[in-house]
Amino acid sequence: MSEIASKVKSIIIDKLGVEDSEVTPEASFTNDLGADSLDTVELIMEFEKEFNISIPDDQAENIATVGDAISYLEANVQQ
């Protein structure tokens, strides 16, 4: 797992209070991991803080699963 992926996973576990095993690439924040709309906003903000980037709202709307988050960040974070 990439460094980004493992950081994303730990943020999700921390913020949503879920188990490591639930955080699969296909897992949807709202449908599988119990996030509500505010949780989702908070997650995006945590990603921005952790990776020091700004995720525009129209991009953020497309980040619905763990895998979406990892691929977006891997593509946009300068490594």
Binding site: K15, L16, G17, L38, D39, V41, E42, M45, E48, K49
Partner: protein
Amino acid sequence: MQLKRVVVTGLGALTPLGNNLETYWSNLLKGVSGAGPITRFDPEKFKTKFACEVKDYDPLNYFDRKEVRKMDLFTQYAMISSEEAIKDSGLDLEKLNREKAGVIWGSGIGGLRTFQEEVSSFSQGDGTPRFNPFFIPKMIADISAGMISIKYGFHGPNFVTVSACASATNAMIDAMTYIKLGKANVMITGGSEASVVEAGMGGFNAMKALSERNDSPETASRPFDKDRDGFVLGEGSGALILEEYEHAKARGAKIYAEVVGGGMSADAHHITAPHPEGLGAHNVMVNALEDAQMKPEEIDYINVHGTSTPLGDVSEVIAIERVFGEHAYNLNISSTKSMTGHLLGAAGAIEAIASVMAIKEQVVPPTINHFTDDERFDPRLNFTFNKAQKREVNAALSNTFGFGGHNTSVVFRKID
């Protein structure tokens, strides 16, 4: 329209004297002080370095990690004491008509720590507004009532009263009134506060409202003592289940006492100082007795606001003497803030519980820390100094007054 009768059928407490009703009440009777050095933050630079904190509190004993993150401490306290009260009431939530069950809660400030943390982090940044999406819903005072209703599915009246240190009593009076009017059968009411944070201590210190007796925190809250020098900040929560009398009887509920009346008034005088002759305090007790349709002579115990400030204690006593006349000398008066400290918006709730328990157990909790008489108080008045007193308590009145000149008073009576 015939007004309904209202009774107390459940109690819950999370206080500096104990984290449940039983411990709270037994420590009240023993005369234990809840004060100690501040542990929530480093008070080194603060004028006052002590407070009445809730002890041995681990939120994970009550909530999962995700819930804890989304609730300010004042809401956590609200959830815990209301759960104890609901359990104590024995209400069967499955059978209850939840359309006629509501929540009216009180908090003077709301999520002060959340506010402090979010605003600090913004002010230390570069101006980019990275506010947490839970900032507002965690901080607003009314979220406590909202969260309680979500937990129990209570669809009836739901809001929070804000009147500084009178908040919880305003909440109880409203809850009682809605039941009297038939708008609800069951109400969860009470109040919670959690302002032992830098902004709370610093703010009250700046007003010169707090005791600065750092060499002896346990004796700092000394209402009616000649050397009192301000109140001691407390935190915690108290919850009461109010229920329509016939509704309670029909399910064979345990009944602690009847809530017979409530009074409200304003000093209309000064933002923080009480009216020097206790005008608002006088009026509010008169209003409460009138609402209860009781004579002053029927009251046995007054749980006073008595915060241990030089001015406040005097004006309240002047008011009591005016309302009760000669009967004032037959009363037991006590300030349980001598033990709990001042829980601000939750004070009315835990003091109502003390009043209700005094009726149930026929014993009056003391005003501890009395060392030196103040000649401004008539020695014929019985302030229940230092030791609990057993006596007949048929009816008790509880006063709470808030900055802004808000006065509230509520009357409880033994159920016949």
